[in-house]
Amino acid sequence: MVADALTRVSGSARRDPGAPTRWALRGTAMLYLGLFVLLPVVVILQRGYSDGLTNLTDALDNFGAWNAIKLTVVMAFLAAIINGVFGTLLAYVLVRIRFPGREIVSAIVDLPFAIPTLVAGVMLVALYGPSSVVGGWLEDHGVKIIFAAPGILLALLFVTLPLVVRSVQPVLAELDREEEEAAQTLGAGSWTTFRRIVLPALRPAIVAGGLLVFARSLGEFGAIVFVSGNIPNDTLTAPVFITQLLSPGSFGATGGPDQAAAVAGLLFGFAFVVVLLTEKLISGRLERTS
């Protein structure tokens, strides 16, 4: 409003960046993402699919291929749900509750970014593996975590926790408390307030975070390759399978970079579509409610 008023007053106002700047920005952005993201993706797709679907079908014919993909997708999904819940909880606790050591916990949450995934994997095995105190006790009671599917989930949860927390935290911090206070004035309990008012406001952020977790989990290699055992049809995940395809030497596998590229293309095509669809869903919903 002020701007409009001032525009009317001073004739030579520039109200928007103007076409040249807009195109310069667009061009730079496209060049950057084009070179660094699109190009590598294209080279993979070209390598994997220039022969049509043969590379993909050959790759999937390999021993353990389908189960590797299924396991990866299921684990990614579970990780998204679990860290979606716990990540939101953590964000809530960090924003709304004052407790001693809050800053430290906040910084620790970001740690998985800085710890090399291979080191994390080694550590998780050392801490929770069958020869550790915790792991040994669990195994005695029939619960196997490391070198079994739960270990994969554990590794994924470690690596992806920051994604949800950092997605939800800023939104929660900026949330206007008036609606909540109004609700409480009207007699709503804390949980109802949370469920009916806070959660819906956080939903886009939670979903966005969950999507990131899902996408990241599809590709995670370092933390998993130590923790899972890599047994085909059991604990072998897609990223490790792709690595195997790159240096074929076993299982009568054909393998090779073309097949590896085909499976890689499949995985990130999948991630791409899921992210795109869900974001459209969320923003669609947002526009409808506002």
């Binding site: 021993f63 353990g64 095995v125 050392a126 593996g129 069958p130 020869s131 550790s132 070198f147 390759v225 130590f226 055992g229 890599n230 047994i231 085909p232 049809n233 059991d234 490790v240 690595t243 195997q244 395809l245 790159l246 240096s247 074929p248 030497g249 076993s250 299982f251 009568g252 596998a253 393998g255």
Partner: protein
């Protein structure tokens, strides 16, 4: 407001400094003259030799390269050879070389990996005719067990006992894993494993199936596999004897059990002709590889890397670090790597392929 500028300015300034500094140090190796399209080639005062080796013998090659460089300096008017070394999975190194890693010398753990490099046109001479068939190190596949051998592992069939947890690496990522599988296969085929008929591929397959039923972890490299075992996981690790011996010398608590029959591990080291030529270091690279076959170098391998003598008759006797073996056979005795990989063991109908599918299907 000011802070933003300060930070961004600092980042840009640091960036400029760093790029300038590294621009001179380089993403490209500048201390070698290059023989661009067969031109004049002079190695210069400080020729660089790039060695890509499999992960195990880092200590040995560390010593061997510095001894060689010192000797060379004396005998070649102060020319200081610099060795750049990379250690990693044998197959990974081969693939890297094929993809452009400028290794002048490749120390592999299996002949097929060298074949990969040759097939890409980077090795132009018949390396199998090199001195000693290009073999510089030798060993045998053995079992690493807990002190006292609580599970009583003595032969390959003992590995099939129910409830045993075996560690062996992933054959699609590790050359060492293939040695392990070939060892089991060969021992069965030669009739040296009780309960498995000589010459019977079905029995060899049955043995492999029994073993792999007990494998719960496939680590991505032989090194990782042994380390995993040493961290307390599993009951037995199938491994190279010299790798286990190095571990024990480093203080790990484990014992080596040699089965009566096992494969003779022979690891070749070759000059990668095309790269060596391009980097103008071929004579030096050749000299280095030759040096590896001298008694002095072999002594280093034996004492530092705990390998066996490369002569099989001598190797059977064992050394201070590794036990003697009754029946030591080579991959040639089984038809050669090509047959093993494309057909009998790792081929589509191979004993291991079918055994693994049965065990983990």
């Amino acid at each position: 407001m000011k802070m933003v500028r300060v930070v961004l300015g600092a980042v840009v300034a640091a960036l400029v400094v760093v790029v300038a500094a590294t621009g001179c140090g380089g993403g490209s190796d500048s201390s070698n003259a290059s023989a661009a399209s067969g031109g004049d080639c002079k190695a210069g005062d400080s020729p660089v030799i790039t060695l890509a080796a499999y992960s195990n013998p880092y200590d040995a090659y560390g010593k061997l390269t510095s001894t060689f460089a010192a000797d060379w300096k004396e005998s070649h008017s102060d020319q200081q050879v610099i060795f750049q070394m990379s250690f990693g999975g044998s197959t990974t190194q081969a693939e890297n070389i094929v993809n452009g890693f400028p290794a002048d010398v490749y120390a592999s753990s299996t002949a097929p990996d060298v074949q990969l490099v040759q097939d890409a046109g980077l090795i132009t001479h018949d390396w199998t005719q090199d001195e000693n068939g290009a073999i510089v190190q030798a060993g045998a596949v053995v079992f690493a067990v807990r002190p006292g051998n609580p599970k009583n592992i003595h032969n390959w069939n003992d590995l099939t006992q129910p409830g045993l947890q075996i560690l062996t690496p992933d054959p699609s990522q590790s050359g060492g894993a293939r040695w392990n599988i070939v060892a089991a296969y060969g021992a069965a085929m030669r009739g040296e494993v009780p309960g498995y008929a000589k010459g019977s591929t079905e029995d060899a397959q049955r043995l492999l199936e029994g073993i792999f039923k007990n494998v719960t972890v496939l680590d991505k490299s032989a090194n990782d596999s042994l380390k995993n075992f040493e961290a307390g996981n599993g009951d037995v690790a199938i491994t190279y004897d010299y790798q286990a011996a190095t571990s024990i010398a480093a203080g790990q608590e484990e014992e080596i059990v040699a089965p009566p029959s096992t494969v003779f591990i022979q690891t070749p080291t070759v000059v990668v002709d095309k790269n060596a030529e391009e980097n103008c270091v071929e004579p030096i690279a050749d000299a280095f590889v030759k040096y590896l076959h001298t008694p002095d170098a072999q002594e280093v391998f034996a004492s530092v890397a705990h390998t066996r003598p490369i002569d099989i008759a001598e190797a059977k006797k064992g050394t201070d670090s590794v036990p003697p073996i009754d029946d030591l056979f080579t991959t040639d005795d089984l038809g050669g790597w090509d047959t093993l990989i494309k057909d009998t063991v790792f081929g589509p109908e191979g004993a291991f392929t079918k055994a693994f599918a049965a065990a983990k299907g």
